[in-house]
C-alpha cells in the first residue's frame, strides 16, 4: 500500500479550504545547506517532506497527520511546530483513532 493510498483514507479538517493556515513551518534553507541527514524525508509517516532530483528538501503541511515525528526528529532547528487552528488550519479528524 502506498502512502498516497493510505492518506486517501484520512479525514482532514477544512479539506475544501485552499488557503488553510500552515501549522508547521520548515526553514528548508537549513535542510538544504547544513543538515547532515535530511531525516524528515524518511521518518515522516505522511511523506510531507520530500527530496527533489537535486536532493533538496521540500515540505507541505496539507498531508500532515499531526503525529509529531518531525517535532522530535529535526535536530537542526528547521521545524517550527504548532497545532493546527480548528477553523483556519488543516490537520486530522480521526474516525477510529
Amino acid at each position: 500500500m502506498t502512502v498516497a493510498e493510505r492518506l486517501g483514507l484520512v479525514n482532514y479538517r477544512n479539506q475544501g479550504r485552499s488557503d488553510a493556515r500552515a501549522h508547521i513551518e520548515v526553514d528548508t534553507d537549513i535542510c538544504n545547506s547544513s543538515c547532515p541527514h535530511k531525516c524528515t524525508t524518511r521518518v515522516c509517516p505522511a511523506k510531507c517532506y520530500t527530496l527533489d532530483d537535486q536532493g533538496n528538501v521540500h515540505f507541505q503541511f496539507e498531508d500532515c497527520i499531526e503525529c509529531g515525528t518531525c517535532l522530535y526528529a529535526c535536530d537542526q532547528g528547521a521545524v517550527t511546530w504548532r497545532y493546527p487552528h480548528p477553523e483556519e488550519g488543516r490537520g486530522v479528524n480521526w474516525t477510529l483513532g
Binding site: M1, V10, V43, C67, P86, W94, G97
Partner: protein, 440 residues
C-alpha cells in the same frame, strides 16, 4: 464564563477526561478544552488500555455496548525471523472476570464515549451549569502572572482558574512554553508509531482469532517485523476490525535510513501476519509519536505553581516487554492530578508546595514505581540483539525443534547449541540472559 474555575484541563484525551471525571464527581467547577471537533478526534494509540482504573471512573462499563472494543483474554508475544514466528501464548478464563484488566480501544470512539460519561457526571454534580467540556478550541498559551499559572489563552479569550492541568499529549508544546520541558526535545526517548485499522466482518474475526463474545487477542511482535530497526509490532482485535502497527525508535529509524510506511508494508507481508489479516480491508492509517518509557525522557518537573502535567505530556509510558502501558498511566495520572486539585481547593492553596502532592501520589502509585523498577528492562529492550539476534535464534531453534524429516533427531539441547552458534556467542547470551533476569 467570566468567573474563575477551580481548574482548567487542557486536552480531552484519557488523562484529561479522567481528571475531568474525578473533578465532576468531587463537585468541582472546571473547564476542559479540547482542540479537536470532539474528544478523541485528534487521538491515536496502539490500542490497549491496561489496568482496571476505568471501572473506578465508569463502574460496570462492560454492561454497555459502547466505549471499548474487546476485553483482553488472550495474549501472545511473537518472535519472528523472515519466515517464522515463535510465540509465547497465554489464554485464560480468568481474564473474563470483571473488572477486566485490559480492553482494546479505538480512541476516536472510546474518548468520545468517555467524554459522554463525563458530561453525565457533570449533569449529576452540584454545579451542572458551571463545568464545561469545550471542543474545537485551541489553547495557544498558558497564562502566567508573577511566575504562577493563572489560566490559559485561546485566541483573544483568556480563561482563569486556580490551577491548570496540562494533558496535551506527547507533543507537549504548552509544557515547553512554561519551561517544565526544554524548548527542543531530541528523539532519544521517543518512537514513531504507525498503525492501520483493518476491517473484517465480526463473525470472521471471531472465527479467525478464536474469540468468544467480546473477548479479544493482543499480539506483540519482535524481530523481523521491524526490519532490524529498534522496536516492534502489534496486532489487537477490535469488535469488527484489527489494529495492526509498529513502534519504531526515532533515532534508530533515522540512522538506518528506513521509512515507517515501508517497514509497515513488509510487516503486513510477513507470511504469519499476512495469514492473520487476509481479506481485511484497511480503513484508516494513522501515526503518532510514542514515548519509550525511559525516565530520562520525562519533563524536568511535572508540577509548578498553579499547574500539573498529566499523561503522555509528562512522557508517562512503560514498555518493559510485558505490555505497552501508556493509556493506563494517563488515566491514573489524570485521576491523581484531579485529586490533588480537590485537596488544594480544600486548603485554598494552589502553590507548587501543595501541587507537589501530585508528584508524591504518582511516586507512590504503580506508575512511577514501575517506571523506576523496570528501567533496566526498557534499556535491555532497546539493545540491537533484542530485535535481531534473539528472535532469529529463537526461530532457528523452533524450526529445528518442530521439524521431523526422517533423519535422526538431535536432543533439544544440541539444537539450541547449534542455533546459538549460528547467531551469537554463548558468552554474549549469558550476559544478556543475566541482564534480562535482573531486569524483569
Amino acid at each position: 464564563m467570566e468567573e474563575k474555575f477551580d481548574c482548567i484541563i487542557v486536552g480531552g484525551g484519557i488523562a484529561g477526561l479522567s481528571a475531568a471525571m474525578t473533578l465532576a464527581k468531587a463537585n468541582a467547577r472546571f473547564l476542559l478544552i479540547e482542540r479537536g471537533e470532539f474528544c478523541g478526534a485528534k487521538n491515536v494509540s496502539g490500542g490497549v488500555l491496561w489496568g482496571s482504573d476505568l471501572a473506578r471512573l465508569v463502574p460496570e462499563y462492560w454492561e454497555e455496548d459502547g466505549g471499548f472494543e474487546r476485553f483482553v483474554s488472550h495474549r501472545r508475544l511473537t518472535f519472528m525471523d523472515e519466515q517464522s514466528a515463535f510465540s509465547v501464548d497465554f489464554k485464560s478464563d480468568h481474564f473474563k472476570e470483571t473488572p477486566y484488566t485490559g480492553v482494546t480501544v479505538l480512541r476516536a470512539v472510546f474518548d468520545e464515549w468517555l467524554a459522554g460519561k463525563v458530561q453525565e457526571a457533570i449533569d449529576a454534580s452540584a454545579h451542572p451549569d458551571e463545568s464545561f467540556l469545550a471542543t474545537d478550541i485551541l489553547v495557544e498559551e498558558v497564562v502566567q502572572e508573577d511566575g504562577r499559572v493563572t489560566g490559559i489563552r485561546a485566541g483573544d479569550e483568556v480563561f482563569h482558574a486556580d490551577c491548570v492541568i496540562i494533558a496535551e499529549g506527547v507533543n507537549n508544546l504548552l509544557t515547553r512554553q512554561i519551561e517544565l520541558e526544554k524548548e527542543y526535545v531530541p528523539g532519544d526517548h521517543v518512537a514513531v508509531g504507525v498503525k492501520e485499522v483493518l476491517k473484517l466482518d465480526e463473525a470472521r474475526l471471531a472465527d479467525r482469532f478464536q474469540l468468544n463474545g467480546r473477548s479479544g487477542l493482543t499480539n506483540e511482535f519482535v524481530g523481523a517485523c521491524s526490519e532490524g530497526v529498534e522496536g516492534g509490532g502489534f496486532l489487537y482485535t477490535n469488535k469488527d476490525s484489527i489494529s495492526l502497527g509498529l513502534v519504531l525508535g526515532m533515532n534508530d529509524l533515522r540512522d538506518k535510513g528506513k521509512t515507517p510506511y515501508d517497514v509497515l508494508n513488509s510487516f503486513k507481508e510477513h507470511p504469519v501476519v499476512a495469514d492473520m489479516i487476509r481479506d481485511a480491508e484497511t480503513v484508516e492509517y494513522s501515526a503518532h509519536v510514542v514515548s519509550t518509557g525511559d525516565i530520562k525522557g520525562m519533563p524536568s518537573e511535572i508540577y509548578a505553581d498553579g499547574v500539573m502535567i498529566a499523561g503522555e505530556a509528562a512522557h508517562l509510558l512503560l514498555n518493559a516487554g510485558k505490555a505497552i502501558q501508556g493509556m493506563d498511566y494517563a488515566m491514573r495520572s489524570g485521576i491523581l492530578a484531579a485529586e490533588t486539585v480537590v485537596e488544594a481547593k480544600k486548603a485554598n492553596d494552589f502553590s507548587s508546595r501543595m501541587l507537589g502532592n501530585y508528584r508524591k501520589a504518582l511516586e507512590s502509585s504503580y506508575v512511577l514505581q514501575d517506571m523506576k523498577s523496570f528501567q533496566q528492562a526498557v534499556h535491555l529492550l532497546h539493545r540491537q540483539e533484542m530485535f535481531s539476534t534473539v528472535p532469529n535464534l529463537i526461530c532457528d531453534f523452533g524450526r529445528q525443534f518442530f521439524t521431523i524429516d526422517g533423519k535422526p533427531t538431535p536432543k533439544a539441547s544440541a539444537m539450541m547449541r547449534a542455533a546459538i552458534k549460528r547467531h551469537a556467542s554463548y558468552w554474549d547470551l549469558v550476559k544478556l540472559g543475566l541482564k534480562g533476569a535482573k531486569a524483569l
